[in-house]
Subunit: 418 residues, 2 copies
């Protein structure tokens, strides 16, 4: 690779395994004698020259990143505008890179980040500074194209499938005199990947979950209520998984379709309570609902080993690609076989990935729209395989690491960003 340092930044919503990617990056770079800086709070840190010297961190702490959720260097939701709209930001990035001899930029994120990474990969030349940029995949939404899956997704998928199985055992044992309908709301505003993964909790029509509501399908109240009723009458109870992104025929989110908070505003978040109210009103069943929210994407204690391994592998590969002098690529996961699941990492052009969105295939949803198909199972099943629990302390809590995050002395004037 070009001489100089490597800058690593985390972007967008964090996950249970994004720090495993950071560990892959830093450990591989150390092996190769490459110095790694990290940007504090993602791209904002790069713009503000708020950099962290990861060489000040003990080896054991970097290793512990592999089992620590959250974003160890901080992340942010901040999308760089186009070069035309905000050239000053790109010039500032190059200024920071130049001041610290940064010759490789690794940007670890989802769709927006792949777009930014591609833009950065192209500006060095026009701004007269030689820097390579590599996108590193991360998103629980599983919506990056080209790659078989996105690090972060497999662990949310596992958390969701396990939670649905456990809670449904609870409901099943009490259903005669207590809750008959249990509703769990999962993340996924645009695509039903996580909702689909919940389907792995059971097999056949009688095992939970009995109904999955995908954001790909418009909510059909009549069909939904009919299926709830039929399931309760046949099985004794009904477990419903609803994606936060499910919409009414009018095109508004179910979550915003009725409830008003104490201040009279539409209550944000909560398709589950809306459905619960509907079930009570129209069918009279006792219900409970759950909304795990951030718990689902931070549950490192229940990570998928497949996911944790892939997260590490993309970090490692990114540094290897950088060492080979590659620019404008992303390490992607290529599926070699379903069973046993075999995969490898390859370099794919960022241009093919940026600004595309992987939709869930239509043939992943059953005919009635309330379940998953064999094709979906074939794709999803390997992604939740294997356990990779964190070490626990004698206090009974996982031993997650907090880094020292030693700042790199600044050399430039301040720059307002964010």
């Amino acid at each position: 690779m070009a001489q100089g340092k490597l800058l690593y930044a985390q972007s967008g919503g964090v996950s249970a395994v994004i720090n495993a990617t950071a560990a892959g990056v830093i450990e591989t770079a150390r092996d190769k004698g490459i110095k790694v800086y990290a940007a504090r709070n993602g791209i904002l840190g790069a713009l503000r020259e708020d950099l962290i010297d990861t060489s000040k961190e003990a080896k054991a702490n970097i290793a512990a990143l592999r089992h620590t959720p959250g974003g160890a260097f901080g992340s942010c939701r901040y999308k760089l505008k186009s070069l035309e709209e905000n050239r000053a930001e790109y010039e500032r990035l190059i200024e920071v890179f130049r001041a610290h001899d940064i010759r490789t930029f690794l940007y670890n994120g989802g769709n927006d980040s792949a777009d930014t990474a591609y833009k950065v990969s192209q500006i060095g030349h026009s701004l007269g500074y030689d820097v390579n940029c590599i996108g590193v995949p991360k998103t629980i939404d599983n919506d990056l194209v080209v790659t078989d899956t996105c690090p972060g997704f497999g662990s949310v998928a596992k958390y969701t499938a396990v939670s649905v199985r456990e809670a449904s055992l609870d409901v099943a044992s009490m259903a005669e005199t207590s809750t008959k309908v249990f509703i769990i709301e999962v993340m996924g505003r645009h695509a039903g990947w996580i909702a689909a993964a919940a389907g792995l909790a059971g097999q056949g029509a009688d095992q939970a979950p009995h109904i999955i509501l995908f954001p790909e399908n418009v909510f059909d109240e009549t069909a939904f209520l009919a299926k709830v009723k039929a399931t309760v009458e046949r099985v004794g109870y009904c477990t419903v998984v609803v994606s936060e992104g499910v919409k009414n025929p009018e095109g508004t989110f179910l979550a915003e379709s009725g409830a008003r908070d104490a201040f009279g505003h539409a209550q944000l978040g909560g398709a589950a309570p809306i459905l619960a109210a509907l079930v009570r009103e129209k069918l009279g069943y006792k219900y409970h609902w759950a909304l795990p929210d951030y718990l689902q994407r931070s549950a490192r204690h229940l990570a998928s080993k497949t996911d944790a391994d892939q997260a590490y592998a993309v970090g490692k590969a990114a540094v290897e690609f950088a060492a080979e002098g590659l620019n404008a690529v992303m390490p992607v996961i290529v599926r070699l076989s379903d069973e046993p699941y075999k995969w490898k990492i390859e370099a794919a052009p960022l241009q093919k990935i940026a600004n595309h969105e992987k939709k869930m295939p239509k043939n992943f949803m059953s005919k009635d729209g309330f379940g998953i198909t064999a094709a979906a199972r074939r794709y999803l099943a390997p992604l939740i395989q294997g356990e990779a629990p964190p070490p626990y302390g004698t206090d009974g809590l996982p031993m997650y690491v907090t880094l020292r995050n030693t700042p790199v002395p600044k050399k430039l004037r301040a720059f307002k960003a964010g």
Copy 2:
């Protein structure tokens, strides 16, 4: 013990470890050559003569109960009235016991069940049939007196502390540009035991959780908002744990204090969204909220080993007490030392336990009412110690058992109950 069979019934809300108690009962009874029947759906099965012959179950399946959440034989919410109010039910119980030569009844539940168990322990004599009754403790509410803790509580406590730690790492890494206030609602309508356990997630004023709202304290909006604001300004974000039982100064549940569902009814469940709306309205911070509901009490994958061991031990002891001919007792956990946590099982009179409720001591809550004290930590810390993960299949899911639950042929006329 008296000759004859033993009848085991699960009662009230189930837990991640109530089946470990069932395993303790059945395995110990098998060792002693005692035949165990289980009542389907708790006391209702006993009244309906809907009994299960556990001897038809393979040894491996009984062993697997030790790591399977939910209630393997079904449970129910059904409280027997007093002997004066409904003598027919007690007479029916004795009729069923007599028909199947049941000489010991083990009732596995919380406060109401201890009361029922005590009543049953007293009626055999007056109705001319010799039967011993032993209460077996189980409740995630941790509100039984005499016993140091209640099987089921330690695992909810561990789930809650781990989840708060994980989600807070997520929030902390995104706080500058995203969520600043994260609210998680936990179970506990009358006492703040679970909310207090969340406090184990961190130490000191800056670690999450920053605010705990206990049902023991009336909600003070001004003090709450001031602490949220101060925490966000000092730490960058604020994690709030709220017990579902928190009440307004007017004495109504916070959860029912404003939100209306689409049908105009007060929305049930959800103190967290109420607080979130308040934070948005008064402080303008971006928020997220989570409501794990049944996930917290069924999360066997994250059970406390201490809790799972105690759950098994009370089941084992119950059979041993029965074999010694004890009546009207409950095996309770006696704490011998805090650090290392040492405990033993003793028999305590049911009469001392029934109709009492263990409140959380006032000195467990910090002066400002928003945190836990060293005394609380000393009590709570041992209860979440140790891990006891279930075995996982190659599919990446815990291998939970579903029993065959072979019915015992009926001998009596039908009886309407429930």
